[in-house]
Amino acid sequence: MTGLLEIRDLTIALPAGADRAAAVEHLSFDVDAGEIVCLVGASGSGKSLTAQAILGLLPPALASEGRIGFKGRDMLRLKGAELRQVRGAEIGMIFQEPMTALNPLMRVGDQIAETLRYHGHDRHSAQAEMVRLLAATGLPEAVAREWPFRLSGGQRQRVMIAMAIALRPSLLIADEPTTALDVTTQAQILRLLRDIQRERGMGVLFVTHDFGVVAEIADRVVVLEAGKVVETGPAQEVLRAPAHSYTVKLIAAIPVGRRGASAAASGPVAEVSHLSRLFRRGTAGVHDVSFSVGRGEILGLVGESGSGKTTIGRCVVGLERPTSGTITIRGTGRPQMVFQDPYGSLNPRRTIGATLIDTGKAAGLSAPDAAALARVQLALVGVPDVALDRYAHEFSGGQRQRLAIARALMSGPDLLVADEPVSALDVLVQDQVLQLFERLRAERGLSILFVTHDLRVAARLCDRIAVLDRGRIAEIGPTADILRHPTHAATAALLDALPGTAWRPLYSEERPSA
């Protein structure tokens, strides 16, 4: 059988000085008509570059060899007009970030119609087809007259899908199309892609790092490690019985729920009472939220984006001033924060040592004490001492997050507020950073207010969770109780949207209980 897309021996060389010689090496796999193939791998494994190579979107500096066969043509050798005919018309593409993929100064309907008109539709048929496409992607017709910035992330991604399938391509390339979306929106978009793919018999190459998503959508899986295919096969087989050690490792690193609370937390280190934070515009905000964090407790704040979980965290560390209500900190030191983006949270122009030592000095330590403490904290988070003289860009994402944790510990706080600290990390690195949080709690009695959208992470790490729904606490209690027996619709919706639960439930050996 011949595939719709046949990639043979694809090698994409990286410029000299990169961390390896080639982004992908001797890559071979097929995508057949009517199937969804997931290309899975950690960041830097070359999966996105492979997707770009198919449409001739590689940066000119990267040399490529091999063959990308598509309907008897070699996509690596197509140029100019021929390539433009294939792009859009025969191969569609959707990207991770729909806001930047849409023209901000053009109405949504016009953008969809533009694609159609470029490929031969007249004004009227383009208009009519555009309306049909909006309907097919589940958007109301009125959306056609909107600007991209007026739409939600999910609606924008639907518009992108409408544009990508406008010309009935036989192959759709989706590069992490749900990574930037909420879980509930992600579930909707995955269902939409699956439906459209079935209905049109398209082949889909779906690039992702998330095995939960793979379990939801894939027919076949290609696993990449550092630019090489390590395993490929039907999704069911790979997910149930991974053959390669790397796949096994990736799947094992997916967080699994922990049952039974750890040692009862003693006296609260922070009490939040009737906290409200209102914003002038929009509905986002926090309304009358009360909770406390015990010593040595990890309390999770979960919810969709816009549910107010980050705002609460920012109020606790003092970055945001509450409109009303009180926050009482009982422990030593001000609560410190660990941010989501490990690239933005360290000053790029200062050495790690300068950052750590100054933080210690700001907390009242003498310079030699601060320097000594910096070494202690580095050892604690597992980064070698030489880091002191280096700059943030010399470290990987996981190491930077460790360094950010070390900085937060410099002033000896009892409470850390961690705002999605593992969301930007690959699953293997995420596992290590979660272990670090667990160790800090066990060894140091550190309390953590852990803000996350990821129920799997919350289930593994948190003793209690508070589920937030439009700025209010929907329910709060021991994590396993809430996630296994949700009583509020918001919790149920989050659980329902979690990808891959049929394959890998939140809690292992899940059995119905009374």
Binding site: P15, G17, V317, G318, L319, R334, P335, Q336, M337, F339, Q340, D341, G344, S345, L346, N347, P348, R349, R350, T351, T355, D358, T359, A362, A363, Y391, H393, E394, A404, R407, A408, M410, S411
Partner: protein
């Protein structure tokens, strides 16, 4: 990403600036003639007689005039850039970091200065003061800081919300520490670029002021020579071309050295090169 290397161009630019510095300090001793003395016939062509760069309308030696002019031009270029950069960064940093009514007040002040045609304003200032090199520098500084302030403000506003700055706030650092140690180093690159362009502007503004006779009449500068030579551009091209080329080369050299300096100060590029 690979860093830019220190190549021949950067070295040449650095040597050129070093030469100018030597001339600025020791120029009057090194000149073949007194630049104010008539030493030959007027309008002697360059590269032909004993006067290498020819003579001007009064028969003064052009080479000597050029050498002596280095000091004033370089002084104006350096000071009339450094002063408005410092002033502009200070005002922009306060406005951008503090925000609120302070930002409002400082930005209205900046706009007030920007709405006055800057050259006329500089002329008025020079006319009010005693004509001297210092009043010229003060006048140029007074009209050049607003764009720097606006640029610094936008940089500070963008960086203020960055996570590493928020982390510093939570850690309890003082405002001065945050502005000086955390934000400023990250805000500098575009300011260095605008600064190297301002040097040229300062040199030219000085020449325009000199041309209108409002500068120090006893001061030989490239601007003074350029404006003197403009009137006879058709008959004696060299009178305007030599100072013009000198200004262009200086500005170019400052730009190149500024860029290299900027790269050298950026740890990301520094390590990439190593």
């Amino acid at each position: 990403m690979t860093g830019r290397r220190i190549g021949a161009v950067e070295i040449a630019a650095g040597l050129f600036l070093a030469l100018l510095l030597v001339l600025a300090i020791a120029g009057p001793v090194l000149t073949p003639h007194d630049p104010w003395d008539s030493v030959g016939a007027p309008f002697e062509k360059p590269f032909q007689g004993e006067h290498l760069l020819g003579t001007d309308v009064l028969g003064r030696d052009m080479l000597s005039e050029m050498i002596v002019g280095v000091r004033a031009s370089l002084l104006v270029g350096a000071l009339a850039t450094a002063v408005p950069i410092c002033l502009g960064v200070l005002i922009g940093a306060l406005a951008g970091y503090l925000g609120g009514w302070i930002d409002m007040l400082l930005m209205r002040l900046t706009e007030f200065f920007q709405t006055i045609p800057s050259f006329l304003f500089a002329l008025i200032l020079v006319a009010v003061f005693e004509p001297s090199l210092w009043s010229t520098i003060a006048a140029i500084s007074a009209v050049s800081w607003p764009p720097v302030a606006r640029l610094a403000r936008s940089e500070f506003m963008a960086l203020r919300g960055r996570e590493f700055v928020e982390a510093a706030r939570i850690a309890g650092h003082s405002g001065v520490h945050i502005v000086w140690r955390e934000i400023l180093p990250n805000a500098l690159p575009p300011i260095v670029v605008i600064g190297s362009l301002m040097v040229a502007n300062a040199i030219l503004l000085e020449s325009a002021i000199g041309f209108l006779g409002l500068g120090d009449p006893n001061l030989m500068s490239w601007g003074y020579l350029l404006s003197g030579g403009r009137t006879s551009l058709r008959s004696a091209w060299w009178l305007a071309v030599f100072p013009g080329v000198a200004i262009t080369l200086t500005v170019l050299a400052i730009n190149i050295v500024g860029d290299a300096l900027n790269d050298a100060l950026d740890p990301r590029l520094r390590r990439a090169r190593a």
